[in-house]
Symmetry: C2
Subunit: 112 residues, 2 copies
């Protein structure tokens, strides 16, 4: 699990392997914050996709989700040069931060 | 072209059929603003996917992009009940608003 957010509390995924989540493979989880640099997150996504074919990006709030989706767009441009075509599937996921439940956006990124 | 934003200026897509854009089919363009209701946008996405198999969602700024990605997540939940599995591919696109060029996020939504 790679944390790309800066000095934010450690988030623990709740229900990530629960009955409502279709985990076809385990995917590395990249946590993105408002202050994450999209190009840095993109590099991380591209690396995980090259290694395992699948990455999971999590964000909480509009600013972080915007950085996350920009990162996926940039990762696409990196990988398309290598002949790798990625798609993403967004969903909602409940995560616990400081014992409080928050709704995060989960972008599952995988080869088409 | 359906405009789901409220009293915002009319956006005109620039370069949407330019040489850098891979348009495999023409997709209906849904413009999302910060004030768009994600469930309403989701219904529109689901309708366009049912009709044509492909929808394009455009947003400018973090708030609008957050609404757009939430809409895709909700549309996924609507369509999965009908056995339709959608994925999205984000990219950047330049759009002209009031003769000023802005960078929008373009989510191409299509059946897997």
């Amino acid at each position: 699990m790679t944390n790309l957010s800066h000095p934010t509390p450690v988030a623990r995924a709740v229900g990530a392997s629960g009955p409502n989540t279709l985990e076809r493979h385990s995917a590395e989880v990249l946590k993105v914050s408002t202050r994450s640099r999209p190009s840095a997150v993109a590099g991380a996504i591209a690396g995980v996709i090259r290694d395992s074919g699948m990455a999971e990006v999590q964000s909480i709030g509009a600013g972080a989700t915007n950085q996350a989706i920009k990162a996926v767009a940039i990762a696409r441009s990196y990988l398309v040069e290598e002949g790798i075509d990625i798609v993403c599937t967004p969903s909602f996921i409940d995560v616990a931060i400081d014992e409080e439940e928050r709704t995060a956006i989960r972008l599952l990124v995988e080869r088409r």
